[in-house]
């Protein structure tokens, strides 16, 4: 009798695991479609990068070391997000909270640097209204920044959830999705750093 109950429990757990796998796959498909959104913005930027309308080009608009600092901060936050997931799989609640908190701080530092750059550009008269090039630049970087912002809100929500309810099955699933999202944003930034900042500096 107790064996039958045990095997029923195993079956139920396996079913829930498969349901989780489906959710994760669905989220993966969403991320891939988000890539297409970024690709169209990259294409717009690539087409418009020389349409400066007498305004500044990439060479004299931004500094490369500044962008490198943003890149390294975001990369480190991607790493600490991974550590949060590892801690979550070992069910270490305090470690999860610590790594998530660190990820949020790094993400906010990244966002702050980006906003600082934006305000500097606008004050210098090179806002999105200056030329086709600056429009494409602000749209591409701004969309990425908007994703980062929503990721940070999501992360804060998860910290509250984990803090109040602990590492339940649902929270583990959400944390997995969150880490997929955050790593994906770092990958998009790799291409922004290469195409916009490094190619622009040449």
């Amino acid at each position: 009798m107790s064996e039958a109950v045990a095997s029923n429990q195993i079956l139920a757990a396996e079913e829930r695991r498969q349901a989780d796998d489906k959710t994760i796959f669905g989220f993966w498909v969403y991320i891939m479609t988000d890539c297409v959104l970024f690709a169209s913005l990259f294409a717009t930027y690539a087409v418009l990068r020389n349409n400066t309308f007498g305004g500044p080009s990439g060479t004299n608009l931004y500094s490369l070391p500044y962008a490198l600092m943003e890149t390294l901060i975001l990369l480190t936050s991607s790493f600490s997000c991974g550590l949060a997931i590892l801690a979550a799989r070992r069910l270490k609640r305090l470690q999860v909270l610590f790594w998530l908190g660190l990820t949020i701080l790094l993400g906010m530092a990244f966002l702050g640097l980006e906003l600082h750059e934006f305000t500097r550009l606008v004050h210098e008269g090179n806002s999105w209204r200056r030329s086709g090039f600056t429009s494409a630049f602000f749209t591409l970087i701004g969309t990425h920044g908007l994703h980062i912002t929503s990721g940070l809100v999501w992360m804060l929500t998860m910290m509250v959830q984990v803090g109040r309810r602990g590492l339940t099955r649902g929270n583990l699933r959400r944390l997995t999705l969150l880490s997929l999202f955050w790593h994906f944003l770092d990958i998009v930034w790799v291409f922004i750093f290469t195409i916009v900042y490094m190619l622009g500096a040449l």
């Binding site: 087409v47 770092d186 291409f191 040449l202």
Partner: protein
């Protein structure tokens, strides 16, 4: 509750990676960021052109693509799922769409620029000025 969770996620661990994967991915990503950055900085700051542009562009593109692969493998755990590999399939489809979108746009717009005569360009610019 915790035992159940542990049981569910324990057998998933091979697919999810370990600390070593994350550390390796992080170090490789930092290196693949710093190498092209250093080359570009040397090139920009030296008065005589140290490297040719095509050389730098090839290095940059290669570094970005390798980093893309490294992060997909180490952070997103791609390529370690069991068959059928749906995630990989969707990724391949995404890459195809992205290549068509980006390369297609560049091709068409460059072609348009190339075929526009100076007269057409002038009258176009005047129209645009009138519109402003």
């Amino acid at each position: 509750m915790n035992d159940e969770v542990r049981a569910i996620y324990a057998h998933n661990n091979t697919e999810q990676g370990s600390l070593g994967f994350y550390i390796g991915g992080f170090i490789a990503s930092v290196a693949l960021t710093l190498i092209p950055f250093a080359l570009v900085e040397i090139h920009v700051n030296s008065r005589h052109e140290t490297f040719t542009h095509p050389f730098l562009i090839v290095i940059m593109t290669a570094a970005a693509l390798i980093q893309f692969g490294v992060q997909l493998y180490c952070f997103l755990h791609l390529g370690r799922e069991t068959r059928p590999r749906w995630k990989l399939l969707v990724l391949a489809f995404m890459v195809t769409v992205v290549l068509i979108l980006v390369l297609g746009s560049l091709w068409i717009m460059n072609n348009l620029n190339y075929r526009m005569t100076p007269q057409q360009m002038n009258s176009y610019m005047q129209q645009q000025d009138g519109g402003l």
